[in-house]
């Protein structure tokens, strides 16, 4: 049981999503994480650790422990 818990813990990583702490499975791709978080169909843009991540690379970018993700949507602006 202890080993299983350890395995489970090891399989999760801590990240920041829009300045909120979150846990997510290790080795998950950005494209899968976005679906899991409910961003699948919405118009968004993504930056990780302050760097822009083009949409065409979502399926290649693995989310790493400690990553800080910013996911933005259109809003009214001046």
């Amino acid at each position: 049981m202890t080993n299983l818990l350890k395995l489970k813990d090891a399989a999760m990583i801590d990240i920041s999503l829009n300045n909120e702490s979150k846990q997510i499975a290790a080795h998950i791709l950005l494209s899968d994480a976005l679906v899991q978080w409910g961003f699948g169909e919405t118009k968004i843009a993504v930056a990780i650790n302050g760097e822009f991540v083009p949409r065409s690379t979502y399926g290649e970018r693995e989310i790493l422990a400690g990553d800080q993700l910013d996911i933005v949507k259109p809003v009214g602006g001046g």
Binding site: G50, R55, V72, P74, G76, G77
Partner: protein, 268 residues
């Protein structure tokens, strides 16, 4: 003497595109998405500004605004509002380009939280980077002549000096600087961006020879935003016509309009 009673249909050119309206309208702060939509319509603006913000996927509150903006068919001018560093502004511009499918960006690099004054050094550096990445940069800048010259040097084809700090409604705070800007930089379109509160202030800016007006709060916070949008549109047109017509020279002393020769009841 022949005269042209109306303005040319499309003589406002920004980055190679021509527009008939010289009014650029912001899409924030309206009491409802419907008021924003109606204000865009009444403003006759062909360019609207908008932004990007972090949002929870479950929060659909912004969807109606985005839908109305899309349906308006206006050219989108996304901003980098709130960015305090070159890196933040460049990253947000890249995110905007992808999400809105436009290389136009209203570049904002905030230098001070109190008056939201643009950071001139960051603005020049970010403009340089973005222009090299293929962006068409419309920098929100102060009325400092040297800053504006540096922005032109790095490739900005439009300048957007402030009238007053964002959201203050104070009008043209530094007429000397603005007149100097217009006098010294004649061949670059300049849009007064931010700080205007009344249509008369927009008229004055246009009479001074500025090419356009960008504002948001003065319309969004009016009791009747669509009506105020129309008022600004009319004021901007009036100011442009006055500039094209040429204002008379001011004089210190009175000068009668009606001929003095033939004045009745006058005896020597």
């Amino acid at each position: 003497m022949s005269y042209t009673p109306t303005l040319p249909a499309k003589d406002f050119m920004l980055y190679g595109e021509t527009f008939s309206s010289r009014f650029l309208l912001g899409t924030a702060l309206y009491a409802s998405p419907q008021l924003m939509r109606d204000s865009i319509m009444q403003s006759r603006a062909e360019i609207v500004t908008l932004g990007l913000r972090r949002q929870n996927p479950a929060d659909r509150s912004g969807d109606a605004i985005w839908q109305f903006i899309q349906e308006s068919g206006r050219r989108l001018l996304p901003n980098t509002a709130g960015c305090k560093s070159v890196k933040e502004a460049v990253t947000l511009a890249e995110m905007s380009r992808e999400i809105f499918d436009t290389d136009w960006i209203k570049l904002e690099v905030v230098g001070d939280d109190y008056n939201l004054q643009p950071d001139p050094f960051g603005l020049v550096e970010a403009s340089d980077i973005l222009i090299k990445k293929g962006f068409k940069v419309l920098p929100y800048c102060t009325d400092d002549l040297i800053l504006c010259k540096r922005l032109v040097d790095v490739g900005c084809e439009v300048l957007m000096p402030w009238g007053a700090p964002i959201g203050t409604g104070q009008g043209l705070l530094n007429r000397y600087n603005l007149r100097t800007l217009r006098e010294r930089i004649k061949d670059i379109p300049m849009i007064i961006d931010a700080g205007l509160g009344a249509p008369s202030q927009a008229t004055e800016a246009m009479e001074m020879g500025f090419d356009g007006i960008l504002l948001n709060t003065a319309v969004a916070k009016a009791h009747n935003p669509p009506l105020m949008a129309e008022a600004f549109a009319d004021a901007i047109d009036a100011g442009r016509k006055a500039y094209k017509a040429g204002l008379m020279q001011k004089r210190q002393t009175a000068s009668p309009s009606t001929p003095t020769i033939g004045q009745p009841f006058w005896h020597q």
